[in-house]
């Protein structure tokens, strides 16, 4: 039996490798005889229709163009957002009722774990990478990323990562979903004790997380190299745009944080499978928390800095003014980057660590609030007396600032030890960080998606639907997460599928908010897909009328150039590099989608 299984696996693996080799040989041939990769598909598209689809797929599988990879990241991130969002909708519906009604408690725990990991690692990091891949080379005047193939590898590690992280939900024999929460605290996650977390599902999730970490690290090295070495002649440190600054800082954080997470997870896997005892016992449990949060707190800033960059980038465009105190924002971004490594144990105030250490972590946590507050001040001052145009991306930016203030202020309180000891592990914490991750990070993501929608689709989204999306998201976010803050004040602990009846009303309010969010996101998907397919085409490279206020930027100029060459259509060769880029990528894109 055992031998047969091994044999079957060997045969399958061998067949797979042969198939890969054969396919590679074919693709290489195909490429040497086709003048432009993907160009053939485009040229023949009209006449052959769906028969050309395979080469369309191959184009996406083999692309190393930063714009294509950006689109792939974006599609991946939004898919993960939908999955994680639907997971939490199920959880919120379960929480309407104090008892266990719709789903089992263990399934609730599984959903909660996957929701967190999906949103942070499979939505948050990739959606930022989507913007960064698409925009940073355009903004800094680079032809492509410094290492385009590494870029492609970094993306293609993510789909297997998602499959592994969600593996427990698939109907695999003897595999159950992980129920460790995203923090994966030992001894629970080490599979010790009488629980069911020794299951292979947890190993698969750890492997998936490890892969996503490898992916993020590769991407970050690429961004650092790109921003340092591939800048255009005129792009100096003095006029590097704010989004690239935040991506540079974020990449630095990833470079120091993610390898640590990867190592810690390999140690945990060894504990689980090979009998090591890194995280055994009381000291081991604390060791895990230290290692995890030394990654985990910078991760917070890894997720929030680029969205801050997007907001800093977009707000001035619709305020008719330059960003107030541009360099304050740059330097405070760097300050956040450094200080974020000095605050990790504020997640562990309640572990009974030495009070002297606790005090130091509190001090640095308070210090890191300053750079964030400086940014908030700058955003508000940028809008102050500006000619504010409340377009959908601008609305999302304003929503970002508003939610970030609530999320940030609640965070400052949590950084204070006495308050933290009261509120630790309550819904207050959940409300606080959801104000940041949903109210701020996701909002900035939407702002970016709407702002650059014409850039990557060549079309305009539907304004009314965009505004409906914003208002439903804004109201939904505040209803849901403010209710959570109140629940936390009331003492409702985190992570439970059931609760005391006294919390029922606020939980129901939170669920109503979550459903509002759901409706908003359905509208978003509809708007996004329909506008991409049928929206009015953008005629010039300045859809936001930025030239009038002198705030036109490089990526729109690139787009303008692309439109000009596309319209001329005479096979002109004076600008050889550009048509090449567009042929492989975006012209095809527009026809394809």
């Amino acid at each position: 039996m055992e031998v047969n299984g091994q044999l079957a696996l060997t045969v399958l693996m061998g067949l797979f490798l042969v198939a890969v080799a054969a396919w590679l040989a074919r693709v290489e041939n195909w490429r040497s005889y086709t003048p432009v990769a993907g160009g053939g598909a485009f040229g023949q598209k009209e006449s052959y229709g769906s028969e050309e689809k395979p080469s369309g797929v191959i184009r996406w599988l083999t692309t190393v163009d930063h714009k294509d990879i950006g689109i792939l990241y974006g599609a991946y991130g939004l898919t993960a957002f939908a999955v994680g969002g639907l997971m939490v909708v199920v959880m919120r519906i379960e929480l309407i009722d104090p008892g266990m009604s719709l789903i089992s408690n263990t399934f609730y725990n599984s959903l909660m774990t996957s929701h967190g990991i999906t949103m942070l690692f499979l939505f948050g990091t990739p959606i930022i990478a989507a913007f960064a891949n698409y925009l940073v080379p355009l903004l800094i005047g680079a032809d492509d990323m410094a290492f385009p193939r590494i870029n492609a590898i970094a993306f293609w590690l993510l789909p297997p990562a998602a499959l592994l992280i969600w593996a427990g939900f698939f109907p695999l024999p003897n595999v159950i979903p992980a129920q460790t929460a995203w923090t994966m605290y030992t001894p629970l996650s080490a599979g010790a004790g009488a629980g069911n977390q020794a299951n292979a599902g947890v190993d698969l999730m750890l492997l998936g997380l490890h892969l996503s970490g490898v992916s993020a690290t590769m991407g970050s090295i690429n961004f650092i190299a790109t921003i340092f070495t591939e800048r255009g002649d005129d792009v100096s440190w003095a006029n590097l745009d704010i989004f690239s600054w935040t991506i540079l800082t974020q990449s630095g954080l990833i470079l120091f944080a993610f390898p640590l997470l990867g190592s810690a997870m390999v140690m945990l896997l060894f504990d689980r499978n090979f009998g090591t005892t890194f995280f055994a016992g009381e000291g081991g449990a604390i060791l895990w928390q230290h290692l995890f949060w030394f990654f985990g707190h910078p991760e917070v800033y890894i997720l929030v800095l680029p969205p801050m960059g997007i907001v800093s980038y977009v707000i001035p465009r619709f305020s008719g003014r330059r960003l107030f105190g541009f360099k304050f924002v740059v330097y405070s971004t760097l300050a956040i980057g450094v200080l974020s490594f000095g605050v990790w144990a504020h997640h562990m105030f309640a572990t009974g660590m030495d009070p002297r250490l606790r005090a130091s972590f509190m001090a640095v946590s308070l210090a890191i609030a300053i750079p964030s507050a400086v940014k908030t001040f700058n955003w508000i001052t940028t809008m102050w007396n500006g000619r504010v145009r409340l377009t959908t991306p601008m609305l999302f930016c304003v929503g970002f600032v508003s939610n970030f203030i609530i999320g940030g202020v609640t965070g400052v309180f949590l950084a204070s030890i006495p308050i933290d000891l009261v509120l630790h592990d309550t819904y207050y914490v959940v409300g606080h960080f959801h104000y940041i991750v949903m109210g701020a990070i996701a909002f900035a993501g939407f702002a970016g998606l709407y702002y650059w929608f014409p850039l990557y689709t060549g079309r305009m989204y539907q304004k009314t639907l965009g505004k409906a999306h914003f208002w439903l998201s804004m109201i939904g976010t505040n209803v849901t997460f403010f209710a959570m803050i109140l629940l936390g004040y009331g003492g409702m602990p985190r992570r439970y599928a059931t609760f005391l009846p006294q919390f029922a009303t606020l939980h129901q309010v939170a669920t109503v908010g979550a459903l509002l969010l759901l409706i908003g996101q359905i509208i978003f998907v509809w708007n996004f897909v329909q506008s991409w397919l049928e929206g009015p085409e953008v005629e010039d490279g300045d859809p936001w009328n930025l030239r009038d206020s002198g705030l036109y930027t490089a990526e729109w100029d690139w787009y303008d150039k692309k439109l000009e060459t596309a319209i001329a259509d005479g096979g002109e060769t004076d600008d050889a590099a550009e048509p090449m880029l567009t042929d492989g990528g975006d012209v095809d894109d527009a026809a394809d989608e």
Partner: protein
């Protein structure tokens, strides 16, 4: 060299990071003067290390970032952030360290407190105007280091 790069405006920009540095320094002193949990060789050294290490690292990073940004301002044309790659982009008229970002250009929102900053900016702008106006980054990017040479070479610059 250092004095030239870290002029008053750059220092003013860097104050944003001095505030967290000050907070950390404050707590170092506070914990040294007032230690309610007593002094323990290991725990106390970690306690101060946790404050000192971020302090030092932040100070170093701030120094180098300020040097890179201010140095780049001296060496080449300064455009609005994100506009350097735009065809036909015009560099900022003066080297307006602090002022460039504060000034809304079209809006009437003269920020209060800008007036005294403007004086400072004018002083330095006067001295830097020559360097930056003449040094066309497009012509002289080959030699990054020699800013004076750059100014000499690029006398025939056009609007790019």
């Amino acid at each position: 060299m250092a004095n030239k790069i870290f002029d008053r405006d750059t220092l003013l920009d860097l104050t944003v990071n001095v505030v967290p540095l000050f907070i950390m320094a404050f707590f170092v002193v506070a914990f040294a003067v007032f230690s309610p949990f007593g002094i323990d060789p290991l725990a106390s050294s970690i306690q101060f290390g946790l404050l000192a290490v971020p302090f030092v690292l932040l100070a170093i990073l701030t120094y180098f970032a300020g040097k890179a940004v201010a140095g780049a301002e001296l060496r080449g044309e300064v455009y609005l952030p994100g506009q350097a790659g735009v065809r036909g982009a015009e560099p900022l008229e003066e080297t307006e360290h602090g002022e460039a970002e504060l000034d809304a250009g079209t809006s009437t929102a003269a920020v209060e407190g800008e007036a005294d900053e403007r004086d400072a900016a004018d002083e330095s702008a006067a001295s830097e105007e020559e360097t930056t106006d003449e040094a066309d980054a497009g012509d002289t990017n080959a030699d990054d280091d020699a800013e004076t040479e750059a100014a000499d070479d690029a006398t025939d610059d056009e609007a790019n």
